[in-house]
Amino acid sequence: MKTEEELDQITRNLMKDSLEQPSKELSGNIMQLIFKEKQKTAPIHVSQSPTALVFIIGFCVYVLLIIGALFLFNQYGSGLTTIATNKSYVYMIFVLASAGSFFFFFTQLDNWLTLKRKHHTA
């Protein structure tokens, strides 16, 4: 009678011949699946783009900057003396500052929405 160790050795040798080979395409198919999965779960970059709060802060900063620039230009600029005498000058500064800031605001908002739409359709 064979010992347990001998039987184990014979069985091990027999089992080596029972090994089945998968098709050559299998590894490629697996990697394809993984790449698809990676695309599905790719982080959405919208979260890293500016938020609504950043837009509003940016808008306010622009308003203040433009107002400041126009006042400075009025004080030290040479060609604005006629405008400076105008009483509605302050209102004009506010209108120009708002227009400039709104332009910045809507441009950023548009970029953000386009990026968001792209990630939703991907």
């Binding site: 009678m1 064979k2 039987l7 184990d8 014979i10 069985t11 091990r12 040798n13 027999l14 089992m15 080596k16 011949d17 029972s18 090994l19 089945e20 080979q21 998968p22 098709s23 299998l26 590894s27 198919n29 697996i30 990697m31 699946l33 993984i34 790449f35 999965e37 990676k38």
Partner: protein
Amino acid sequence: MEEEKWIQQILAGDVQSFSCFVAKYEKMAYNLAYRILGNREEAEEAVQDSFLKMYRSLAGFQGNSKFSTWFYRIVYHTAISAQRQQNYTTDIDDVPASEITEDETDSATAMLENKDRHELITKAMEKIPSDEALLLTLYYLEESSIEEIQQITGFSGSNVKVKLFRGRKHLYAEIEQMTHKAKIEML
């Protein structure tokens, strides 16, 4: 452990590193699934599903067990689910699991010198119950310990030992039957 390095690389976004896992575990995963399902196409499908499940849960691998044990458990459960779906039934003659006889040992030893042994052993493996074939593959080919097999299959330690014993007996009995048939055919 090289698997830990691969996991870190994959989690950092380097999906190409996943091919290391595929290269290392594809063959054994396929063999385990094939032992359970007994069908090439379904085994490959189960292997693909298993790798996908592994990828999805890589971040959750705690390292409490060997990576291979953790992954083969996924393969085992995926293949078992697929087997339930195909409503697989075995038509194996119930061979009593007594001690391995001298004739059976001689036939098995002679088989190792047979040129067509791959085909014959494959046939013999297909005839024995799938759970026994799976345990024989894990124990003798993957060299998993009884404890690791317990973790993979969820069987108790004594159940694993009994199934291994029965599986080996059934394999030897099948080989002996084949050798006997071949002798009769030659006469």
